[in-house]
């Protein structure tokens, strides 16, 4: 008997291995012209895994203090064997993960995969996206370079504008009134302890819900398949879809390697809290559409503070986005949601591009 088979039999005898894997074997993935969108969730999960692995490796050398953070990252980039690769892959994977998470969210939105009974799958996914952005925001400061320092200052300043709780929120995020070493320690804590704990819990819930309800058939395909059941095509999740997903992960790995080799993530210059802010400070690309919008809003809108109005509008939009499955009932609201989604994609794209070219 082959060794692998013997191990498997050993596990099966004790834990009922075959029984545990049965749900995976029974799980199927619909095959249709939009099937390739199903890979995005898996790619995002893969990139998260890369983040965890490279993050743990970075922890071996990273020092979370204002005096040592920059130098420790510099040491990782120049002295540690393959440190440059680990750090570049970590940074690039973070950005790609948020990008694929956004794509995944929009694919679910346009295919209306959030509809009953998958409302909570959508909600957990949206919360995961917010957490991923939180990971990005907290991780951006950790190298303690000039751009990160001032972008964090601007970002936490914006948080400070939230009505009623703004100042307290800002002080909580910064660990004081200013961005200092205390902010760095705090962000490090969020980045390596609080957020990973929350995201692990949410990913588990998200995957459980996906497993429980199966993979959604696009709304527009459902009537076709109901009318002609013989046209309905499916593949087994394990191993057929998983093998294809694995190929997508390999492509993602190749892209990450190429980005790390051809465009290693820069380090910039060490943050100097007493230096004036350099011109053209911008946040990471996934916050840029909001940042640019806030810049364009006039200081005063009637009696109200323009920035506060902007923040409240984005908060409200985020809340509505989170509750989309509960709003999408009638044909009219479905059209409204699709129209709003198309507008949001165009708006985010245009504002991000504008943010990049604007001075």
């Amino acid at each position: 008997m082959a060794p692998l088979v013997r191990v498997r039999n050993w596990l099966d005898e004790r834990f009922g291995w075959d029984e545990l894997l049965a749900p995976l074997r029974h799980k199927t993935v619909p095959i249709h012209r939009y099937s390739y969108w199903y890979f995005l969730g898996g790619i995002t999960l893969f990139l998260f895994g890369v983040q965890v692995c490279t993050g743990i490796l970075l922890l071996l050398y990273y020092r979370p203090s204002a005096n040592e953070a920059f130098e420790s990252v510099q040491y990782i980039m120049t002295q540690v064997q393959f440190g440059w690769l680990v750090r570049s892959v970590h940074s690039w994977a973070a950005n790609l993960m948020i990008f694929t998470a956004f794509l995944h969210m929009f694919s679910v939105l346009f295919l209306r995969a959030y509809r009953k009974p998958r409302e909570l799958t959508w909600v957990s996914g949206m919360l995961l996206l917010f957490l991923a952005m939180g990971f990005g925001f907290s991780g951006y400061l950790l190298p303690w370079n000039t751009l990160a320092f001032f972008a964090t200052k601007v970002g936490t300043d914006i948080a400070g504008q939230v009505p009623f709780v703004g100042h307290r929120l800002m002080v909580f995020l910064r660990g004081g009134d200013e961005v200092t070493g205390a902010t760095l320690s705090r962000f490090f804590g969020f980045h390596v302890a609080v957020l990973p704990g929350l995201i692990t819990l949410l990913i588990s819930i998200h995957l459980l819900l996906v497993q429980r309800f199966g993979i959604s058939v696009p709304a527009r395909m459902e009537p076709e398949w109901r009318a002609l059941p013989q046209q309905k095509r499916e593949m087994r999740f394990f191993p057929n879809f998983l093998l294809r997903e694995l190929m997508a992960w390999y492509i993602a790995l190749g892209v990450l390697g190429a980005l790390a080799a051809f465009s290693p993530w820069g380090l910039g210059t060490k943050a100097d809290p007493f230096a004036p802010a350099p011109a053209g400070i911008k946040p990471e690309w996934y916050f840029l559409f909001m940042f640019q919008t806030l810049k364009l809003i006039p200081a005063k809108l009637g009696m109200l503070d323009g920035e506060v109005v902007g923040i409240l509008t984005f908060s409200l939009a985020g809340l509505i986005w989170l509750l989309v499955p509960f709003l999408d009932g009638t044909k009219r609201t479905q059209r409204l949601v699709t129209g709003a989604a198309m507008f949001v994609v165009a708006y985010m794209g245009a504002m991000t591009a504008y943010g990049y070219v604007a001075k």
Partner: protein, 415 residues
Amino acid sequence: MWRNKNLGMVLVLAIASALAQAEQPNSCVDCHSALEGELHVTQEQFAQDIHGQKGLTCASCHGGDPSRTDDSAMSKAAGFKGKVDRAAVPKLCGSCHSDPGFMRQYNPSLRTDQLSQYQTSVHGKRQAAGDTKVAVCTDCHGVHDLRPATDTRSKVHPLNIAATCSRCHADSKYMAAYKIPTDQYAAYKTSVHHQAMVERGDLSAPTCTTCHGNHGATPPGVASVANVCSTCHVFQAQLFESSPHKAAFASAGLPGCVTCHSNHGISQPSDAMLGTSAKSVCTNCHTQGDAGYQAAGDMQQQIHGLETSITRSDVILSRAESSGMEVSQARLELDQARDALTKARVSVHTFAGKPVLTDVDSGLKITAKTYSQGQAALRERDYRRTGLGMALVAIVFVMVALRLYTKEIEKNGSR
């Protein structure tokens, strides 16, 4: 409670006093605001004046009684002095500004030696000799819109001093009788000092008064030029003092720094000033065959060698950086080589080859290291790219294998 009451009373008194002052009649400006030319003075203009702001009135300088609204305001009985004669201006200003006890109540840190300094200046001496064309206090500071020197609108603010001096000193007709050049301002405007002051906004950069003095303004003599320059260029001056040029210049009657760098139109020093080329200042005195000529050529070559070496390192590090390589440590070290180059350029003022060579050698050692760091960074970049190529081949291989395996299991009907 008691404190609050007192605070309230002080406030009421302060407001009442301010209102009383604002409402005090001033018949001088009532008439003079309607006059034209030199006699035109408005309340708005005088309100901007530092004297007006400190509570002085027209009567403080001109006498008279501004509270009267008829001609008696300008009567002798009211102490009216009328227009202050130019010759009397320094003493009139000095009557307050040379009195430390009086000035202390307004600005305890303000100097009170302006008049005594003025009396030692060329302006003051000529004025004492009866020359009425020379500058008096009001020519530089203004009259009824006089502002503190820290105010950028003041005629004596560092940014405006050169223009203020030029009003007389660049006017060839006005200065004709004195037989001194009038191109100083034009030359200064081309200088590195003016560039620092105006373009970079460096208010510590020298302007006319920095070298000539302000109230005690006088041209620095041949012997004291180096002392003037050394107030900022300390190291260069120290090296010059112990150099062979010190005695040689003195015996030839040449002023120290100015001989090579000129005075008002000092341009950014360049390595071309050194050596034996046509642009060199060394060849103004040294000729082929003498030791100085040889030393000038050697120093220029050494400095040029270090500069070339720095550029070479800079180019290779830039190439590495543009490939995304982290070379900030090498960049820091290259800055030290630049410091060595600056030091070597300063050492030129010893006019001896050895100190320059020492500085150049220390710079060259650094550039040799930074260049090899740049080369190592480029090798590392190539290594990474080779590694990526191999990884991609492995990835493609695994993907093909996965595809074939998928096809195989699906051919067997397990879709």
